[in-house]
């Protein structure tokens, strides 16, 4: 029924493939494409570019917007959690650099006392950003580190506290319990400013990202997301699925390994990339 327009069956197939290829998930992609078909019929949209534009706009509305920016609205204490290698430590470094540029007094907490050289890595980032790192020796209790960090931040009157935690798989119940303790201790101890818990997620993650986010959310009651590695060719569609299902805002996106490679999230840009430009 798309007579006269440029849109044909190939268009719909291509669109669905593009969405699947962007890691949105097969079922969500199909549902979205079906909805768009109805919208197209209703609003008499016949050109491919019109349809893609309409879709990007509608998807962009799916993202919840943040009531509060935990990196701007200070004082603020933020914990970074997520699975191994997602980009937590790097993101802490970038945000510390940004805070320092903006003249905010910032303090970094190193609560990854588990991974080999996690502390050394964070200290390099602290130096790059010109921000002090509070931590303990490898093997120390991470919850105690958080206690120290908050105490020190209150003493100094720091405006932004960024706490790095060890990567862990959501399926490891011991490690998830340990992390819940870290978060709870911080929430309890930190009475002088709001505590935000951010899940860091790698844009190359596939459908498992949803299970990850659900488990972290159940254990920690997450506040929002940061999506990293969007400088690659992965579109990060799983972030849409997560944000949609769990109602979590995306605070920032990571677009490289350097200190400046962090951007604010633009839902429409993100969705335009996800929907593609067609052939």
């Amino acid at each position: 029924f798309y007579m006269g327009g440029e849109v044909d069956e190939d268009f719909w197939e291509d669109l669905e493939d593009t969405l699947v290829m962007g890691d949105m998930g097969g079922e969500l992609a199909m549902r979205v494409a079906d909805d768009l078909r109805e919208q197209a019929a209703r609003e008499n949209l016949t050109r491919a570019d019109q349809l893609r534009d309409a879709l990007a706009k509608r998807l962009a509305q799916e993202f919840r917007t943040a009531d509060r920016d935990p990196f701007e609205d200070v004082p603020s204490c933020v914990l970074f959690v997520g699975i191994n290698g997602a980009g937590k430590t790097t993101t802490v470094g970038k945000l510390a650099g940004r805070a320092r540029d903006e003249g905010k007094s910032c303090l970094i907490g190193g609560a990854d006392t588990f991974r080999a050289a996690a502390i050394e890595q964070l200290e390099v980032w602290g130096k790059r950003a010109g921000v002090d790192v509070i931590t303990r020796e490898r093997g120390a209790d991470p919850a105690s580190v958080c206690y120290d960090v908050v105490e020190e931040a209150e003493k100094r009157g720091s405006q932004l506290v960024l706490i790095d935690t060890a990567g862990r798989l959501h399926t490891s119940s011991d490690l998830m319990r340990e992390l819940a303790k870290v978060v709870n201790v911080t929430r309890k101890r930190c009475t002088s400013m709001p505590v935000t818990v951010v899940l860091v997620i790698d844009a190359t993650t596939g459908q498992n990202g949803l299970a990850q986010a659900k488990e972290f959310n159940d254990a920690l009651d997450l506040d929002g997301l940061i999506v990293t590695k969007l400088d690659g060719t992965a579109k990060g569609g799983i972030a849409l699925a997560i944000s949609d299902q769990l109602g979590l805002p995306i605070y920032r996106i990571g677009v490289g390994e350097s200190i400046d490679d962090l951007e604010t999230f633009d839902a429409l840009d993100f969705c335009r990339a996800l929907v593609g430009e067609g052939k």
Binding site: E27, G87, Q121, W125, L169, T204, A211, K229, E257
Partner: protein, 296 residues
């Protein structure tokens, strides 16, 4: 969230059962379920298309259509096809007999698990009586050499850091170091890189030329989504790796990327990594992987 593929197919066929003999249309319905299951497992959608088409052909035989247990038959066909595609034999490390030291080089995206895998390989080889040397050729990530040095000291394997500045120079010097210290295998850890980062891909090629590895292994995160084909295709073209280590399989990711890697590059999966500890590297079993992908 979803039932296993077997249950889903059983449901599908139960609904069709009333009609007697199955038809091609019924098989198409089953194939749609299989397509969804594979996409949920992160098999690349192009790979899914080809795979489902070839499965469909095999399912359209009298044996399946007339069977009293069509769901089981379809699942068996899919499972066999998947296992075959994943590689029919266990793949192991291939070391040259007439060269000392042997060189194994690791490559991959950022955070995929290369440095950890380097230590795991060293631990495995040490246990087999080898005397490995770890070469810290990631001169980009903050404290990458410290990380490798820490892991090396935990497993009692020496780590060569060189000047810590030029990855290619460190790589070349590590071979001389191994010769001087009678290490029979050098394991070269490299920086994480995006396949579209031309400068970094050139560095990987330069390291390769400097150390002439016997084996280049690409470390791929089991949680990787659809983009895996773009990544492994470019790494295969530029660096031409020999096999894959699939990491982080201790989680609940289905790891459909394993199928995509095989289908797109033809390279075998050699090991799977099941944790952060040095002893968590395991041999790859195609049949187990096939069941995992299908959620069985």
């Amino acid at each position: 969230m979803f039932n296993s593929l077997s249950e889903r197919l059983q449901d599908t066929f139960d609904k069709l059962r009333g009609k007697g003999k199955l038809t091609e249309a019924d098989i198409n319905v089953a194939m749609r379920e299989i397509r969804m299951a594979l996409l949920e497992a992160d098999v690349n959608f192009r790979v899914v298309k080809d795979f489902v088409a070839s499965c469909k052909e095999k399912c359209l035989t009298a044996e399946v259509l007339d069977s009293l247990t069509p769901a089981q038959n379809v699942v068996r066909i899919v499972l066999d096809q998947l296992t075959e595609l994943l590689g029919t034999t266990e793949s192991k490390l291939v070391l040259a007999q007439n060269r000392t030291p042997n060189v194994i080089m690791l490559v991959g995206l950022q955070g995929s698990g290369k440095t950890t895998a380097a230590a795991k390989l060293a631990y495995l080889l040490k246990g087999q009586g080898h005397s490995p040397l770890l070469a810290a050729c990631d001169t980009h990530r903050p404290a990458a050499a410290d990380q490798l040095a820490t892991l090396g000291s935990e497993i009692g394997v020496p780590v060569f850091r060189g000047d810590g500045k030029d990855a290619v120079k460190v790589a070349s010097a590590s071979i001389r170091e191994a010769v001087d210290h009678l290490n029979d295998i050098v394991i070269v850890d490299t920086a994480g890189r995006l396949q579209i980062d031309e400068e970094m891909m050139q560095e990987a090629v330069a390291i390769k030329q400097a150390v002439k590895p016997d084996q280049i292994l690409m470390v791929v995160d089991a949680m990787t989504g659809q983009d895996i084909v773009n990544v492994v295709q470019t790494f295969a073209e530029r660096v031409d790796f020999d096999g894959v280590i699939m990491s982080k399989l201790d989680g609940d990711a289905r790891g459909g990327g394993a199928l995509s890697v095989r289908a797109v590059t033809g390279k075998p999966i050699k090991f799977v990594s099941m944790g952060e500890k040095p002893d968590s590297l395991e041999v790859f079993h195609p049949d187990r992987m096939a069941k995992r992908i299908l959620g069985m």
